[in-house]
């Protein structure tokens, strides 16, 4: 894995943690440990996504930097195998 692939992989790992914790918190909204984990990993995900969009391409519309050029459409398509 090169740097880009590794960073995208890490985003996937951290986001999966958030998806799973989110579902758990939906039915256990007062679980203190889950709340702490969620806040911790949400912070890491924001950092990783910011780093990825600055170095490579935006993963979301909100991270598109329209000042230089509209790069949203140039990013590799996830189903092309660009997801690791």
């Amino acid at each position: 894995m090169n740097g880009k692939e590794q960073l995208l992989f890490n985003i996937g790992v951290v986001d999966f943690t958030l998806v799973d914790l989110g579902l758990f918190l939906d039915t256990h909204p007062k679980d203190r440990r889950a709340l702490e984990y969620f806040r911790h990993y949400a912070q890491i995900k924001r950092q990783l996504c910011r780093e990825f969009s600055q170095k490579y391409y935006p993963l979301t519309l909100a991270e598109s930097d329209s000042e230089k050029a509209w790069t949203w459409g140039e990013a590799p398509l996830p189903w092309e195998g660009a997801c690791d």
């Binding site: 995208l8 992989f9 985003i11 996937g12 986001d15 999966f16 998806v19 799973d20 989110g22 579902l23 758990f24 939906d26 039915t27 256990h28 909204p29 391409y57 935006p58 993963l59 979301t60 519309l61 909100a62 990013a75 398509l77 996830p78 189903w79 195998g81 997801c83 690791d84």
Partner: protein, 204 residues
Amino acid sequence: MWKYEKRLQFPVKIKEPNAKLAQIIISQYGGPDGEMGASMRYLSQRYATPYKEVAGVLTDIGTEELAHLEMVAAIIYQLTKNLSMEEIERSGFDKYYVDHTLGIWPQAAGGVPFNACEFQSKGDVITDLHEDMAAEQKARTTYDNILRLIKEPDVCEPIRFLREREIVHYQRFGEALRLTTDKLNEKNFYAFNPGFDKCENCNG
């Protein structure tokens, strides 16, 4: 509303095209227990629940199912990429090819098109949550059957991830059902439909 993240929930990187596998796996795209039915089921059912926690579970699991739908599509896309005419004919993929070329279209492995009759939205939260728990088990069985039919590690890995999620969703729906019955009359959960009946004394 929804926002798109330009990545798959779990990596799909298949080295060799294989139209035979694609024809099996497409059932989890548009088949009776596939991801299209799953996402539409939960996202349709959530309006009829009077309980915010349950609507939250249905929304979040329904959203994750959309990510699974995209993963299954990516698997089929990569398994059918760059197929030769000879491979299309030899693998039996010709019947799909004649109508869709290599486009992704929701159907079951047997060729039956996706149909909304494959899920219910009954307008009764207890009924809907029971259906949801059954749906997760049916999808889990389908993934188990797929895993008995395929051996390729790069295909098995994302399928195993999807199978595991069915088990987690089943667990969460079970908890949502418990949250629901906790709010109802413990002597008779079915005394009234909390999503329909207006009854001041029904909450026991």
